[in-house]
Amino acid sequence: MSASSPAMNQMAAAPRPADERIEIPASWRIGQAIISLVIVAMAVYYYTIGWKSPSGETEANTRTVFDATGFLVLLGLTWLTTPTAGVIALTTFQEALRRRWMTALLAFGLVIVALSSFFTWMQPGEEQKFLRDFGLGFIIILTILMAIFLGVALVPPEIERRTIFTILSKPVTRQEFLIGKFLGLCWTLFVNLALMGLMFLISYAIFKIRIEKGLGAAMSSAEGHPGLIFDISNITRALMLQMGQLAVLSALALMLSLVVSSITAIVFCFVIYFGGQASSYWEHLSGAEKDEHGDHVEHVKGPIQGLVKAAYFVLPRLDRFDVRERLVNDMPVAFNYMWKAFGSGLTYVAVLLAIAYLIFSDREF
């Protein structure tokens, strides 16, 4: 150790930075500003053109001030993402990638998705529909498993292994830590989703070209027979919506893992996932639904109605992100619908992250 003394002296001689805070580099700020501009542009597009879908679906063609919450949350997340949060996110991503079960799950997913056309024998005559339903469903369930299992393992292991001591004794705020963890997980899930989605799209395109006997036939579109481009864009939109669902589930898993043990958090996550999947049913039961004439319909009464209403109010509306039924029926997924889904999902994510921060900021290790 005496050998290292010159190094020590050199270090001691190094000038101490004058600033007291971690300065966010200008390049980072510029990046944030560009992203913010894109978000604002999206908001402008939504409020001028995008809110009205070309397919004439009138019910989603309503723009409310509430739709802006999603944009605000995005802006907030952008500005809260400091370089430090970025570092935490990147490390979370690396850590997730090196988990063996995750890699195995991804490999399994890729293989199944690549071979998904093989399973179409299960529904003869409806092969393309089956492929869309099955392939997407499989990707959805796999990424949901990843989101839940990775999500509950974001913070508790750091506490158990006391790595969090070394991190929080560095210039890292708890908020940055939390946001970094969340974004890291989202990025992990995005990469996984993108890989499986790409594999699925390729597999789907090959299948369609084979079934239609040629690229030209597969690309050609007629009424009742949408072309490959339409299918691919629709499937991509469905995958994007799935990312929204994953963000909600990640935030949920992160928040729950701060309150209860991992196992309990996993169980709660699944329960909430199943509950959230059925949220239109809760709406249906709670009577918040309107019939064709615009009248409210009541299905249950009394305290049960109150309970169902509360469930509907509190649960994340996850079925909004699942457009498989529409996809299977060759109907386009419109931008206004997508944004409403994303916007509400982001709002819910913000609620969950706020709760998570309230818990985490008082958390003692």
Partner: protein, 348 residues
């Protein structure tokens, strides 16, 4: 008091050699500042911490009114038995937990202030890192948290790993293959990465072999030599006594003793005088005078006294009895003695 004399002697020797080992940097101008020398950088005032289980009224009191101050440039030792509140104090100082009452200030700010975090380093007890990374990647990660540039991260990582003397061959292996001592070295490297003004070390020598422990102590002394402040938590009292300038002894969350090591230990309290040619008559006389003695295997007699006045009298007595004084040894109290005494007086 189970402490055998031989152990004490061995300890003294260890301290001396440690001091000598660190000698190259310990020249006159970088002598550690003594009591009152430096500016106060850590101040706790009547710090209390009660751990409360959720949904219950009663809690476990971990700290009851701790008031200490740590000064610039010193090595401050926080000692106490397990569960005495050492780690709690450390966590309070790092902002990992919040005090129930009382104040903490580090560099004049709240402990969870990010500006403070830039100036400190922390080695937790039994550190653990992302085990799929190697030591370069770990240090790179921590370097990023300080927003260092890539070159600076690379330079500092290399420098720190040299400093903690981690074998070059081991640096590229994943952390999960490391031994406890190697892990401790990486821990120290990450704590020193940002060239901190204030270093918190929690049980730095646990799990280290004697050589490793020795190197750790050398490093701590080196750090102080560079004008940095070290706050050290340990229950290995010999280590603390060997390196610390000031020590706070806490037990059951209360401050028992607080001061410089000499203050706590005080001057030598026990002497042995070895004499040759002591007659039986003299011995009988000595017995009458109340000196404790025992005859050694080599025929010499060892006399024991407990104060410097008695030593004076004894030496006169031996000279008067025509015996020859062969050797005189003085024993000061160890920190351990002080520690155990304070803990015992606490009603244990």
């Amino acid at each position: 008091m189970p402490t055998a004399e031989t152990t004490t002697v061995a300890n003294d020797t260890a301290i001396n050699s440690a001091m000598n080992g660190a000698a190259p940097n310990m020249n006159a101008e970088s002598q550690p500042p003594r009591d009152g020398a430096g500016e106060i950088i850590i101040q706790t005032t009547d710090l209390r911490k009660v751990y409360r289980a959720p949904f219950t009224r009663e809690g476990k009191t971990a700290l009851q009114g701790l008031t200490i101050d740590v000064r610039q440039g010193e090595i401050f030792g926080l000692v106490g038995p397990n569960g005495s509140g050492k780690t709690t104090t450390l966590k309070l100082l790092l902002g990992l937990i919040k005090p129930t009452s009382g104040q903490v200030s580090v560099f004049g700010r709240g402990p969870d202030d990010v500006a403070v975090k830039k100036r400190i380093g922390f080695l937790p007890d039994g550190p653990y890192f992302y085990d799929y990374l190697n030591s370069y990647e770990v240090l790179d990660f921590y370097g990023r948290l300080f927003a260092y540039s890539a070159e600076e991260r690379a330079r500092r990582s290399e420098q720190m790993l040299d400093l903690v003397a981690l074998n070059k061959a081991d640096r590229k292996r994943p952390i999960r293959t490391y031994s406890k001592g190697m892990m401790q070295r990486v821990g120290l490297a990450q704590a020193l990465l940002n060239d901190p003004e204030l270093l918190f070390l929690d049980e730095p020598t646990t799990g280290l072999d004697p050589i490793g422990a020795r190197q750790m102590k050398d490093t701590i002394l080196n750090v102080r030599a560079m004008g940095k402040t070290v706050l050290l938590c340990s229950h290995l009292l010999a280590d603390v006594q060997a390196v610390c300038d000031r020590v706070a002894i806490i037990s059951e969350g209360q401050l028992m003793k607080f001061g410089t090591v000499p203050e706590l230990v005080g001057p030598s309290q026990r002497f042995e005088v070895f004499a040759a040619g002591v007659s039986d008559g003299t011995l009988a006389e000595a017995g009458q005078k109340g000196y404790r003695y025992d005859r050694q295997s080599d025929g010499n007699v060892a006399f024991h006294v407990n104060s410097s006045e008695q030593l004076d009298e004894l030496l006169t007595f031996v000279r008067d009895a025509k015996a020859r004084t062969v050797d005189v040894k003085g024993y000061s109290e160890t920190l351990e003695d002080v520690f155990i005494r304070s803990v015992k007086s606490d009603g244990r």
